[in-house]
C-alpha cells in the first residue's frame, strides 16, 4: 500500500461521506470505550498499574542497549537466531532468505503490524513466496487487497455484507448459492479454508507483543489462536518485530500484560498469551525446528534522546485511537499510514519523515483523551505539538496556514495590540450583526460558517469586561 498521508484532508472528506464506513464506526466506537471502562471498574489497582507499566518501559529504554544485547544472547542460548535489521529493506531480505533456505512456497502469518510497516507481503509475493494471513480480519483484507484500518481490529471498517461478498467472490470452490445465516457461518468458512493453509505452510511468521531479555522469549497475544497455530505447525517460526518490544523480565512482562488487554479490548486477559523460546527441544513431540527473530529498527533508535522517546513505550493496545474523536469520525484508512490514530500521528513522521506525514499531527483536536487512556501514559498531544513545531520550522505547511500563524503570532506576542484588535473586531462585528444577531457567512471563516452560524458579539470583549470588573472590585 502506498502511504497517502499527504492526502489526509481529501481522505478525511471521503471517509465522512462513506456510508459503509460511517456505519461501522458508529457501531464500533462506543463499544471500545464501554468495554475498557468495564475492565477498569473491576480492577481498583488499574491506575497504579499504569504508573508501574510506564516505569518498566522507561527503565528498559534507559538501558535499551544492554537489554537488547542480553535478549539476543538469551535467544542464541536457547538455539534461536537473531537477525538485526537497521532498515525495512534489511528485514524484508532477512525474512526472504529464511524462507528460501527453508524451501518455502507458502508462509502463514499471524497478525503483525511490523510486517505491515515493512510491506512484507508484497515483497514475498514478488519473490515467489505466497504469504497467507491467518488472523480473520487480516485474512479478509488480504483477499480484498486492503490495508488494515485499526491496529487490533484490522477489518473493523467492514460490514457483514462485505465479508459475504468477498467470500463468495474468492471461495469459488464452494457452492455459489450457500447461505450465511449468521456471522458464525462466515467464521466457519474462513476457519475451514485456513486450516488447510496452516497444515501446508513451511514457514510461520508472527509478530511479538513483548521480547523478554531474561529468557530470550517472544510473546504473542491473540484471541483466535491463529498466531499459535502459525508458530507451532510449520517447520520454521520467524518472529518479525521492533526493538522497542524488549522487556527485562517475566515479572515486567506480566505487569504490562495486566494493562494491555484491558486497555485494548476490555478483556482481563486475551485468550492466548504465548511465550516462545527457541525451537523444538529434545523429546518435544511438536513445535518448529527452527526459531528466528528479525529485529527491526527502522527509525526507532533515532527516537531515543529526542522529544519522541516516550513513544517507544507504546504497547500497541489501540486505546488512543479507540477514544479519539478524529479517528472516530474518519476511521483508520484516512491516515494513509500503517499506524493510524494518535499513536500513528506521532510515530508515522518518525518512520517516513515529517515531509510526508506532516498532516497527521494536525489531525487532532488536542482533547487529551488519548493520553488519559494510554496504559503507559505517553504524552501524545505534546508530541503532536512537537511535530507541528517542526513542520512549521521547516516551512512544510500550506502558505495560508503559515501566514495566518505568523499574523496571529505577531499580535499574540503584543498583548496591548491584541486587546485593541479584538476590541475593534468585537465592536465591528457587533455593529454589523446587530440586526440579525448572527452571521451565516464570514470572510476568512467560510469553512466554519458553512455548517453553522457565528453569533454576533454583544458589547465589549472578554478582556475589557474582565478589566472593568477587576477595577470595580477594588
Amino acid at each position: 500500500m502506498l502511504l497517502t498521508t499527504e492526502a489526509f484532508k481529501q481522505n478525511a472528506t471521503g471517509a465522512m461521506a462513506d456510508a459503509g464506513l460511517q456505519k461501522a464506526l458508529a457501531r464500533a466506537k462506543p463499544q471500545f470505550a464501554k468495554k475498557r471502562q468495564a475492565a477498569m471498574d473491576k480492577l481498583p489497582e488499574f491506575e497504579a498499574l499504569r504508573e508501574t507499566a510506564k516505569n518498566i518501559k522507561n527503565h528498559t529504554i534507559a538501558n535499551l542497549d544492554f537489554y537488547l544485547e542480553t535478549y539476543a544472547a538469551a535467544v542464541e542460548a536457547s538455539g534461536g537466531h537473531v537477525h538485526w535489521c537497521a532498515t525495512a529493506d534489511d528485514a524484508r531480505q532477512a525474512v526472504l532468505k529464511i524462507c528460501r533456505d527453508a524451501g518455502a512456497k507458502t508462509v502463514t502469518k499471524g497478525k503483525s503490524m511490523v510486517t505491515e510497516e515493512i510491506h512484507l507481503n508484497d515483497y514475498l509475493e514478488a519473490n515467489g513466496v505466497t504469504p497467507v494471513e491467518t488472523d480473520l480480519g487480516e485474512y479478509i483484507l488480504q483477499l480484498r487487497r486492503e490495508p488494515p484500518s485499526h491496529i487490533i481490529g484490522p477489518a473493523f471498517h467492514l460490514n457483514r455484507e462485505d465479508w459475504e461478498d468477498t467470500f463468495r467472490k474468492v471461495h469459488t470452490d464452494l457452492p455459489a448459492d450457500r447461505v450465511f445465516r449468521e456471522r458464525r457461518d462466515i467464521l466457519t468458512e474462513a476457519r475451514g479454508k485456513l486450516r488447510q493453509q496452516f497444515l501446508a505452510a513451511d514457514v510461520g511468521i508472527t509478530g511479538a507483543n513483548f521480547l523478554v531479555a531474561e529468557t530470550g522469549s517472544s510473546v504473542i497475544v491473540t484471541n483466535e489462536g491463529n498466531g499459535d497455530l502459525t508458530q507451532t505447525l510449520p517447520r520454521v517460526h520467524v518472529v518479525v518485530t521492533g526493538i522497542e518490544k524488549i522487556v527485562p523480565t517475566i515479572e515486567d512482562t506480566l505487569a504490562l500484560l495486566r494493562v494491555l488487554a484491558r486497555s485494548a479490548t476490555g478483556q482481563d486477559m486475551s485468550v492466548y498469551t504465548t511465550f516462545s523460546t527457541g525451537g523444538r527441544r529434545a523429546g518435544d513431540p511438536d513445535g518448529p525446528q527452527e526459531y528466528h527473530v528479525v529485529l527491526l529498527d527502522n527509525g526507532r533508535s533515532g527516537m531515543v534522546g529526542t522529544p519522541f522517546q516516550d513513544m517507544l513505550r507504546c504497547i500497541r493496545c489501540a486505546a488512543c485511537m479507540n477514544h479519539c474523536p478524529v479517528y472516530g469520525a474518519v476511521g483508520g484508512h484516512a491516515y494513509g499510514s500503517t499506524y493510524p490514530g494518535p499513536m500513528g500521528a506521532v510515530l508515522t513522521p518518525m518512520l517516513v519523515g515529517v515531509e510526508a506525514a506532516g498532516q497527521l499531527p494536525n489531525a487532532s483536536t488536542f482533547c487529551g483523551k488519548c493520553e488519559s487512556v494510554c496504559p503507559v501514559k505517553i504524552p501524545l498531544p505534546n508530541m503532536m505539538r512537537h511535530w507541528r513545531d517542526r513542520e512549521f520550522e521547516r516551512h512544510l505547511g500550506p502558505p495560508a496556514m503559515r501566514y495566518g500563524l505568523v499574523f496571529w503570532g505577531f499580535f499574540a506576542r503584543r498583548p496591548a495590540l491584541y486587546r485593541l484588535g479584538t476590541r475593534f473586531m468585537a465592536m465591528g462585528l457587533g455593529f454589523l450583526g446587530a440586526k440579525r444577531g448572527r452571521f451565516s457567512y464570514l470572510a476568512f471563516a467560510g469553512a466554519w460558517t458553512k455548517a453553522r452560524d457565528f453569533p454576533a458579539p454583544e458589547g465589549t470583549s472578554f478582556f475589557a469586561q474582565y478589566a472593568a470588573r477587576q477595577k470595580a472590585a477594588r
Partner: protein, 221 residues
C-alpha cells in the same frame, strides 16, 4: 553491521557509551532476582477463594469448569461431558503420566495417546497450573504436553489439580522456573478461542477450540 548501528544509535541517543561494569552488574542482578510489581488484591486469595475465583472467571470467559474428588473420576466425567455435548466418545490424550494411568477401560471411550491431528475432535490435556486472577490456564510444552493438543481439536478438555491453582501469574512462573526454566512454549489460555473481527461481535471457535472444559481435581488422585 546492523547490530552495531542499532546499538550505537541507541547509545548516542542516551548520550553515553556502553554501560559501565557496575551498572551492568546491577541490571544483571535485577534479572537474576526479578522484582515483583504490584499484584492486584484479587490475585492474593487463600486456597478455597482462589479455586472459586478461578472457576468464576473461566465461566465468565465462556469456558466450563467442574470439581472432581480424584483423578480416577476423570474418565467417567469425560464420557459424560462428551455425551451431553453430543460428541463421539473418542479423543486424543496427551502422553502425561497422570493421564496415561487413568482407568479409561471402565468407559466406552476410544482414547489415543499422542499428538493431535486435524481429524481429532476432542483432546484431553494436563495443565501445569491455573491462575485465579483471570481464570487462566498455564500450558507449557514438553514431552508430556504437545502444544498441538491445546489448539487443533474443537473441544479442549483439561485436567488441573486444585493444588496447582495459584492467585497470580507470578506464582505459576516461579514454579515453572523451579521446574527447570522456560520450555520451548508456554501458553496462558483464558477461555475458548474467539474472534470479534466480524462487526465487533464475539463468536467462539475462531481457529482454536470452540469449547474449553476444565476438570479440577481436589484429591491426590
Amino acid at each position: 553491521m546492523s547490530r552495531e548501528m542499532i546499538i550505537g544509535a541507541v547509545q548516542r541517543g542516551l548520550k553515553r557509551g556502553p554501560l559501565p561494569a557496575d551498572q551492568k552488574a546491577m541490571l544483571a542482578g535485577r534479572m537474576a532476582r526479578p522484582p515483583r510489581h504490584l499484584i492486584p488484591a484479587r490475585g492474593q486469595l487463600d486456597h478455597e477463594a482462589r479455586v472459586a475465583l478461578f472457576m468464576m472467571y473461566v465461566e465468565r470467559e465462556f469456558g466450563t469448569a467442574v470439581r472432581l474428588p480424584g483423578l480416577a473420576d476423570v474418565p467417567a466425567a469425560v464420557a459424560d461431558y462428551l455425551a451431553r455435548q453430543n460428541l463421539a466418545p473418542a479423543l486424543v490424550a496427551s502422553p502425561h503420566p497422570d493421564l496415561e494411568t487413568l482407568p479409561f477401560a471402565d468407559t466406552m471411550l476410544n482414547v489415543r495417546f499422542g499428538v493431535s491431528s486435524p481429524r481429532d475432535a476432542v483432546s484431553l490435556t494436563h495443565a501445569f497450573a491455573g491462575i485465579a486472577e483471570t481464570g487462566t490456564l498455564m500450558l507449557p510444552s514438553g514431552p508430556t504436553r504437545p502444544t498441538s493438543n491445546n489448539l487443533l481439536p474443537d473441544n479442549a478438555l483439561v485436567v488441573l489439580p486444585a493444588a496447582m491453582i495459584f492467585g497470580c501469574y507470578e506464582d505459576a512462573f516461579d514454579l515453572l522456573r523451579a521446574a527447570g526454566g522456560m520450555p520451548r512454549n508456554v501458553m496462558l489460555v483464558t477461555g475458548p478461542s474467539r474472534s470479534a473481527d466480524i462487526e465487533q461481535t464475539l463468536e467462539l471457535g475462531a481457529h482454536g477450540p470452540r469449547r474449553l472444559h476444565i476438570m479440577i481435581i481436589d484429591g491426590e488422585g
